[in-house]
């Protein structure tokens, strides 16, 4: 029989403690809230899964969830291709490369709430450049009154804010491809598109996976920018999940439903990330793996 050395457990103890205090205990507090009706600090009633049931049937929440999914998908569909295109267009070396890198990175350095404020002013039809320009083109643009305009403005703002992150990740990925690949492709007579399809895209798989996951999680939890820009309105048209949650937990102090909803929110993100990650891994392993399976 193999001797079993139990001492190794002590080595992971620090990690267990850190994770317990940073993640498990807070999460358990939320679980605790989600199964009780807290009327006052002294009076609480165990309600089982009632909060979960009521939250799931809540129309406002379903609306927010659909809006959220639509928003995150739109963000990914626009930012990922745009980021790749930007990275491909950026100069590879010389002072131009440094200059472009700095310019591209600027929007990433601006605090979230300032981004919201910038766009709030930018979109105004009286003094904002964007609002006035769109107005001058003959559109009746009004992000404070028209739900579609508000939703689109939030989307464009997110694209402006975060596409550079995708571009920078892809740029780093592109620079890591050895010259020999391009030389070989040129000798093999590959077209520009073939170079992209068979060399650049496969080599970008790793950074794209990071970019997709980051952008998905961030956009799914978006809060500050729409809060500052539209305050969730007009109506509920730009109220996304996290804002809905804040209204519940902090605004109305409905801790039970808010906790139940937090857990559902958490599970949705976990599930979608799991699906995305596995799907991208599969895509990487390619067609023949899919055929076999």
């Amino acid at each position: 029989m193999k001797p079993v050395n139990q001492k190794a457990w002590f080595l992971i103890l620090p990690v267990v403690l850190c994770v317990a205090f940073s993640a498990v205990l807070p999460l358990m507090t939320v679980v605790n809230y989600s199964v009780q009706d807290i009327i006052s600090p002294e009076r609480r009633v165990f309600v089982g899964t009632d909060w979960f049931k009521s939250v799931m049937r809540d129309d406002d929440l379903q609306g927010a969830l659909l809006r959220q999914i639509g928003f995150s998908l739109a963000v990914l569909l626009i930012e990922i291709p745009l980021g790749i295109a930007l990275a491909l267009a950026m100069p590879a070396r010389g002072w131009k490369a440094s200059a472009v890198l700095v310019i591209v990175a600027i929007s990433l350095l601006i605090p979230w709430n300032v981004v919201g404020t910038i766009w709030q002013i930018f979109g105004r039809t009286d003094i904002g450049l964007l609002g006035a320009a769109v107005h001058a083109l003959g559109f009746d643009y009004d992000y404070t009154g028209n739900p579609t305009h508000a939703w689109l403005t939030v989307l464009v703002m997110d694209v402006w804010h975060w596409t550079p992150l995708v571009a920078l990740l892809c740029y780093a990925g592109l620079r890591a491809i050895p010259d020999a690949y391009y030389q070989a492709a040129s000798i093999d007579g590959a077209t520009k598109f073939a170079v992209f399809r068979y060399i650049q895209l496969p080599k970008l798989r790793g950074v794209l996976m990071i970019a997709v996951l980051l952008r998905f999680m961030d956009s799914f939890m978006i809060y500050t920018e729409p809060f500052v820009l539209t305050g969730g309105g007009p109506g509920n048209s730009t109220t996304f999940l996290s804002q809905y949650l804040t209204q519940k937990a902090v605004g109305q102090f409905d801790l039970g439903p808010a906790a139940a909803f937090s857990l559902i929110y958490f599970l949705i993100i976990l599930l979608l990330c799991f699906v995305l990650y596995n799907w991208m891994q599969r895509v990487g392993r390619g067609a023949d793996a899919a055929q076999e399976g």
């Binding site: 020999a180 030389q183 070989a184 007579g189 068979y198 060399i199 080599k203």
Partner: protein, 380 residues
């Protein structure tokens, strides 16, 4: 297949001033159609630059490249119809082995049936037939490099196939196999092959003609025996052979040639090597002689190593910095001198070379043949 004429120089910097600014000093050479050539030299000698100029990846800063007499200097690798294999395997990760091999043909729009035949043939030559449907990304490094080689060889109509140290990542025992394979493929397909390497064994076994390069200069083009017997430049003597040629400083006068204070050539013989400053002789040709024999110098043995089939004896000669090495065969009854023994080394024979300004003094017609030595164009 094409005959390739080079008449060029190359500097990566914009305004080259001194020789040091040039990656390639002015040179003129020809690769005949269907020949197997090797570019041999230490790292940084310009051999890869030269190869990339032939393929069109690098445009020479001076001069031109001609394929079959047509100036192709401004053309891309694709237009030149060149195939090139790089030091590290380059494969298309998302494709299968067969798709990888077919890629250069597909890009040129060949009919599917023709592509299948070609890919099958090349895969068979390189022993990849069993793996054609496997994903290239999952293979070992040597299989990947075989794919790179295959992509280089798959086109029948190429002007030339260029190899840039293609066997660096391959295990030694596979190296032999692949080199033999390349040689065999050369015989079957009669392609013009140019092979860059810093390994003399690789160069001498692969190529009909070896171009020896150092510091941006091609110092000699020749067959293996020529490089061994008559190195045109002291660098060639030093670089080719294991160990390299012995070089001893010599003093020439009307009265004769002397090495280490001993006259090794009389006045009559010395006339043919006027101005010689260096005597060169391969360790294989240094013999032990009677003390005071003509053409010999005395030395003291510093080291004697048993290399299996022969002994390598190093001896210190008065006034010569590097020890003189001699290969002594142990067949026969000769006793091998031990360290500390005084010996007499015979340096002058039919294999002895004499140098002036690092360059061989021609002895007969074969040495003086201009086709053998690399001609140097004057800088433009």
């Amino acid at each position: 297949m094409a005959r390739i004429d080079l008449d060029l120089a190359h500097a990566y910097k914009p305004n080259p001033r001194s020789d040091d600014d040039y990656a390639l000093l002015p040179l003129r050479m020809t690769f005949e159609a269907g020949g197997a050539y090797a570019l041999l030299g230490p790292s940084g000698c310009g051999k890869t630059t030269l190869l990339n100029i032939v393929s069109g990846l690098v445009k020479p800063s001076h001069g031109n490249v001609k394929f079959d007499g047509v100036d192709v200097t401004a053309r891309t690798p694709q237009q030149r119809n060149i195939a090139q294999v790089f030091q590290f395997p380059v494969i298309y990760d998302t494709m299968t082995v067969a798709e990888n091999l077919a890629f250069p043909l597909r890009n040129r729009g060949l009919p599917t049936e023709r592509i299948r035949q070609r890919v099958g043939r090349i895969a068979e030559m390189l022993e990849l037939s069993g793996q054609l449907d496997a994903r290239a990304a999952n293979l070992a490094a040597d299989a990947k490099q075989k794919i790179s080689l295959g992509r280089g060889l798959v086109r029948e109509d190429v002007s030339a196939v260029l190899f840039d140290e293609p066997l660096t990542v391959i295990d030694p025992h596979l190296k032999w196999q692949l080199r033999r394979k390349l040689k065999q493929i050369h015989h079957e397909l009669r392609l013009t092959l140019v092979y860059v390497t810093h390994d003399q064994v690789e160069a001498l076994t692969f190529a009909d003609q070896v171009v020896v390069m150092t510091r941006g200069r091609a110092v000699q083009i020749g067959t293996a025996p020529e490089l061994f017997e008559r190195p045109q430049h002291t660098f060639v003597g030093h670089f080719i052979g294991s160990p390299g040629m012995n070089f001893l400083p010599a003093t020439w006068s009307e009265a004769g040639l002397s090495v280490a204070g001993r006259t090794v050539l009389g006045a009559a013989q010395a006339r043919a090597v006027a101005g010689a400053t260096i005597l060169g002789i391969r360790p294989e040709y240094v013999a032990l002689s009677e003390p005071g024999a003509p053409g010999s110098v005395p030395g003291v043995v510093t080291q004697a190593q048993d290399i299996g089939t022969y002994w390598l004896v190093s001896a210190k000669v008065e006034g010569v910095e590097a020890p003189v090495r001699a290969r002594i065969s142990t067949n026969g009854h000769r006793t091998v001198p031990a360290p500390g023994d005084a010996v007499s080394l015979a340096l002058v024979g039919s294999h002895t070379c004499f140098y002036k300004d690092e360059t061989l003094i021609p002895r007969d017609a074969s040495d003086a043949d201009p086709a053998r030595a690399v001609q140097e164009a004057s800088p433009t």
